[in-house]
Amino acid sequence: MTNTVISDLLVIGGGLHGCSAALFAAKRGMTVTVLEKDEVGQHASGTNAGGVRRLWRDIKEVPLANLSMEMWKSISEIVDDDCGFQQVPQVKVAECSDDMELLADRVALMKKSGFDHERLIDRNEVLSLLPAVNPRVEGGLVSDDGFALPWHTTAAFARKARELGVRIDTRTEARRIQKDGNTWRVTCSDGEYVGAHLLNCAGAWAGQVADQVGDNAPVEPIAPLMIVTQRMKPFCDCVVGTARRPLSFKQMANGTLVIGGARLGRVNTATNRTDVDFSELKHTANTARDVFPIMSKAVIQRAWSGIEARMPDLLPVIGRSEKHENVFHAFGFSAHGFQLGPATGKLVAELIDTGQKAPEIEPFGIKRFSAKPDHSQLLGM
């Protein structure tokens, strides 16, 4: 027997963004159902490196990231769980004098735009922040950021959302999405769901969802690679990157090192399968060892990759559909969406509920990928 579930808002995708938007929509009094084809946080949301980072973001994302940072600082009040969030500096080290110039240019650009959270520091200050760093670094860029536990965070948002009445159906894949009068009808394997509004938070699968509502979204699924080591004695309490080489390096509270940074594995979104490519990860290992010589004693415990959505301009899609008043998107975070989770959910819920688009999400409309003109209309079909 199949039942039809009727809600004010249907969210497709039970990752951090889907659960966050559902939570804030429920707070606004909407009835919300989340459809998740696998398990909550199974892909990018639960398997990313957990950086809560504003440093070095595209300037268009900075206002949204700043708002999110304020929310992270009181994350326990939002989800009744500290999510393992720790406020620590993020440091981008300069490995040579050219790097230093690159960082200085960045600070100048940020100043011009009125942002002052990124600060240039000299070699001595880097060494005092990171006693174990290779003493040959030239300096660095630092901001007051942090990190959290990705899977725990996503689970906490889902738990709180459920407490607020959100229905989260896992192992429930949205197979067909159809307009039905003013509402949307989503057909899943075990039932039908009807919503007055539809929100696409389907991550690497969001392009397929957008396609079904007639929006163009050139989503590229990617599999960012990550390493975790066995526990080591504490030697680093910042999140560390470098000016030019891809690296995201942090030591967790339990002593393990989580190392990522833009190296990609192979991905198949149809089977959920990712393959770790050690010929890529070898470069990550090299960079980590160059920046922290102590890493030559590290032992790699595990390598993995989640499945992420990357957009051509590396910026997310957040906002209303180009084609439909009651369809919204929040996806394509291009491997840096974890920090943005709280604020994006809040502002998307506000947009859906009130129609008010906050300035922080203004730059991320789907229109920028507006495809070819709609031929069916031109031909009068």
Binding site: Q230, M295, A303
Partner: protein
Amino acid sequence: MSSVDLGIVGAGPAGLAAAVEARSAGHSVALLDEAAHPGGQIYRNIDHAGAKQFELLGPDYAYGKALTKAFGKSGCSYLPKSSVWHVEQRDTGFRLSYSRDGRSHGVDVGSLIIATGALERPMPLPGWTLPGVTTAGAIQILLKASATVADDLVLVGSGPLLILLAAQLVTSGYPPRAIVETVPLKNYVRALPRVPFNASGLGYLYKGSKLLARVARAGVPIFRDARDIVIEGTKRVEAVSFRSKGRAHRVETMSVGLHHGVVPNQQITRLMRCEHVWDQRQHAFLPILTEDGETSVHGLFVAGDGGGIRGAHSAEIAGRLAALKVIERMTGESQAAVKSLRKKLKRDASVRPFLEALYPPFSEALVPSDDTLVCRCEEVTAGQIRDAVRDTASEANQVKSFLRTGMGPCQGRVCGLAVTELIAEASGRSRNDVGYFRIRPPLKPLSLNELADYETEAQ
């Protein structure tokens, strides 16, 4: 990067037999094994064991000498002390990455036979992490490899290996202090109708009864139908307490050997995402295999206990079968020996239903008390796992994300099945639904230096 027709992982009976078979047909074969010498666990150290070990370990052990001898003459490229840490599917087969003497290397293979055998079934009992508590297998490894015995030992559990070990220790002059046997008395009745009335099956039973008689003659006390087992001690094991036939006992001891069966080592087949299914009789997950051992991944075979526990003799037959299948693929010629080997394999397995009925896993170790550690690496208790299930985690991988069970260096080798079992108990879901940990590479912890210096080319 070197390349061969067939890669084999594991130098136990299955791996050795497969290598000899494929070499005799003229194919190039590389066999990788973690140990320094061929033989696997069952014939461990066979080429270097002395007269003392042969005397203690008996003809079943000595049998392995013929296997390693044939292997030595086969011309197989043999890579001992080589720990495979990654397997990738390639257009032309598979690439194995392995670590040897602190450096990593790669080898490309057309087909792959996994012959990595069995692991001890996890036996989480109160106190099982104390120094002095080992698996029964560990005691036997000491005997085979170093002619060293535990002087003051209590064996706890059940199964053929436990009896074999007890008999070997009796012969060594260091009999165990006691055997605390966890077989419920009703099982003896239950197993009776499954007595295999054929030459192969009765042969196994006859051997078993001789071993039991040897243990009994030595006066080793056997406490039957034991339950409420607690291993006591603070800095090391001091005693085992339990109830047997309604009476409470406490046996002081310096060592405890645990055993309640072995289970397939599924690290590689899980890494390769071969399909697995729960087998209620073996009470373990098994990779789904064709009659000749091919997994759901084309060209990837499992031979021996890794495909389901059937013992050393079956492993040898299965190794030959898998190799013949690989030869058929490469030559396009059907192999005459396949049929008779399939028959032999069936015959040799006839004792299994009896053993499985008599020696099921010990229920107290399947669903341990709340304060018993289950994940030894991350030190997670059964109670924490039950709480996580209550908090909506009802899959092995969710519990792993939540509690770090299986994220330590053993990668779930020791706790994996115990975690599945506990989640199934607490959630009421089937073991197939609960599933098993996703196995991530590297299969064994790998030094960061080694990866940084690993010379490999991208696909």
